[in-house]
Amino acid sequence: MRAFTVHTGLVAPLDRANVDTDMIIPKQFLKSIKRSGFGPNLFDELRYLDEGQPGQDCSNRPLNKEFVLNQARYKGASVLLARQNFGCGSSREHAPWALDDFGFRCVVAPSFADIFYNNCFKNGILPITLSEAEVDQLFNEVETEQGYQLTVDLEKEVITSPSGKELKFSIDDFRRHCLVNGLDDIGLTLQNADAIKEFEKGHKASSPWLFGAVQ
């Protein structure tokens, strides 16, 4: 997995609560058996005026000019500023895949849905939770200042705004460690294969019906 240490990038504000994963990447694109290529369809129904089809060339589709990612000033954004309960709904990992493919490295919001939050870490995207007041403040700053960038330092757990103001955030040690070092979860877990086998032995002894029934 790609490591995340320090990232500086342009911020795009998505001023809407409860953005669900159907909105992030609509279901017709879930038919793909790949992990990549979802970027052009990120926020498809908000971004375009027509209905998107999988495999279609998106370059000539009619754009919704109002939508934040279609505004010239946010072109190339890599930090998404969002509202509460971002990523609710379906567990589809296609949502972080699409954000990643589009170029987002970090999402900042007052709260995230659990599964989405988890999925971000598996894909080198950093979800940052700040207070409602801090997020409000960032929305104000982004909207008033062209070219507004934030610097996110994961090791120090701090975001720095253009004015030099610092906001603290916190990420679980284990998740931070994995993301900072770009570690593959499975490899890490398999280092504990003996502990898993040991547990499995006891589990099988106490609950034998859980083993071997489906074959």
Partner: protein, 477 residues
């Protein structure tokens, strides 16, 4: 020391390793697989040259993409008209064959929606940890299991290690006391709960449903409720094990038999929260007060009793909610203040992992029996949750009742719940749907979903608009 909650017990029973930072390795007993969220996981295994840790812990069936018309189903995978869907279903088939994983393929009568199939086969058992790359895995918590959705990377992780890296969640108890009135169903109960606590109400929590209403509820009802725990923000929902649970599980194909059954029952007797268990949060509702529910907006928390009026933006409690209401009203094409019963219905969908089991179909059939779908309704679909549910319904003659009333009787799958196959809403159409999500575009581009119980969907099909099903039930004037 305080007692343990059901969730605490399930967690402790599966804890392989606790880490200092609060994260842990949890052992997974069952993984359910379907075609949409598994291909990238299998590909990951292959690229890393890994084998599944325990093949017998996995069970697969295609559901999201499969066509539901018998014509298109006849020739199996080859007959799927949408070429991209076909590749996905084929990929699941190939992967299961390559890795030796049991799959109920499209032609198998045990095929169906994963969350219907697992319990039906006894592949979901009390005390298990169950995962699936699908957020409605919370359904399986109805069995006193710890069950939740995971992402595709985690699907691969579970296949390779039989474990999940997890962090213990908080304990939330939702208690519904008293008795439900006639015509009020498990779907209404869970919608009322979501209306009360909101779609983020259970974030970070494992949600246990307790109280008399759930003790009285059938297993299918409990599955309907746990299914939508995720719509309240809780990854996992659960109900304690009792005699109702045991009666349901006993004799199912993958359930323990004979001596092993007795042993299992003894082990399962502890699968409830202790009397002195402490919950981080407790929410209480009175079952007697719950009426049939209808969602009016684009989030499951935008829900009201059938006799209510659609809110106006000014009814929102804060600016964010007011904006949300305004946006939802516009998308749904509704006017603030109009009665819910005035909302016309263009299509009806009875199905999905929330409401496609035999009791759901019986409930809907009892309402449409001897009646006709209103002329203004363009299409009304009944999509059973599995081949076995379909078989059972046909044995009871329910399909004849539906067909006589003008509803279509389909093959099992997710169908119009998320419209990945040909079953979808047109732009601007209102749908009375027994599914679980009313998000924008969920059932088709521009489609307008109203979540209801099977009885309420059936009533709406007959009247062409939402109506209180209690007025149409036997004995009503």
């Amino acid at each position: 020391m305080a007692g343990k909650t059901l969730y605490d017990k399930l967690w402790d029973n599966h804890l392989v390793q606790q880490r200092d930072d609060g994260s842990a390795l949890i052992y997974i007993d069952r993984q359910l697989l379907h075609e949409v969220t598994s291909p990238q996981a299998f590909e990951g295994l292959r690229l890393a040259g890994r084998q599944p840790w325990r093949i017998d812990a996995n069970l697969a069936t295609p559901d999201h993409n499969v066509p539901t018309t018998s014509n298109e189903r006849e020739s199996g995978i080859e007959g799927i008209e949408d070429p991209i869907s076909k590749i996905q279903v084929k990929t699941l088939d190939d992967n299961c064959n390559d890795f030796g994983i049991v799959q109920f393929d499209m032609q198998d009568k045990r095929q169906g929606i994963v969350h219907v199939v697992g319990p039906e086969q006894g592949a979901t058992l009390p005390g298990m940890t169950v995962v699936c790359g699908d957020s409605h895995t919370s359904t399986h918590g109805a069995f006193g299991a710890l069950a939740h959705g995971i992402g595709t990377s985690e699907v691969e992780h579970v296949m390779a290690t039989q474990c999940l890296v997890a962090k213990k969640m908080k304990n939330l108890l939702v208690r519904v006391d008293g008795k439900l009135g006639l015509g009020v169903t498990p779907k209404d109960v869970v919608l009322a709960i979501i209306g009360k606590i909101g779609t983020a109400g259970g974030n970070g929590c494992a949600l246990e449903f307790g109280g008399q209403v759930f003790r009285d509820m059938t297993m299918e009802g409990r599955m309907t409720v746990c299914n939508m725990a995720i719509e309240a923000g809780a990854r996992a929902g659960m109900v304690a094990v009792d005699q109702t649970t045991l009666d349901y599980v006993k004799g199912r194909p993958f359930a323990p038999q004979a001596d092993l059954w007795e042993k299992a029952v003894a082990a399962w007797s502890d699968l409830h929260s202790d009397d002195d268990a402490v919950f981080d949060e407790v929410v209480v509702l009175n079952g007697e007060e719950i009426k049939p529910q209808v969602t009016w907006g684009t989030s499951p928390e935008m829900v009201l009793p059938i006799d209510a009026h659609v809110p106006t933006p000014a009814d929102g409690v804060d600016e964010t909610q007011q904006e949300g209401y305004a946006r939802a009203l516009e998308y749904m094409g509704l006017n603030g203040g109009q009665p819910i019963t005035d909302i016309p219905v263009d299509r009806v969908f009875i199905g999905s992992c929330t409401n496609s089991r035999i009791e759901d179909l019986r409930e809907a059939a009892s309402v449409v029996k001897g009646r006709k779908v209103a002329d203004s309704v363009k299409e009304a679909l009944v999509v059973p949750g599995s081949g076995l549910v379909k078989e059972q319904a046909e044995a009871e003659g329910l399909h004849d009742i539906f067909i006589a009333a003008g509803l279509q009787w389909r093959e099992p799958g997710c169908s119009m719940c998320l419209a990945m196959n040909a079953d979808k809403l047109g732009n601007g159409e209102h749908c009375a749907s027994t599914s679980n999500r009313n998000f924008e575009g969920r059932q088709g581009f521009g489609g307008r979903t109203h979540l209801v119980s099977p009885a309420m969907a059936a009533a709406a099909a007959v009247k062409g608009h939402f109506v209180d099903v209690r007025e149409m039930m036997a004995g009503a004037q």
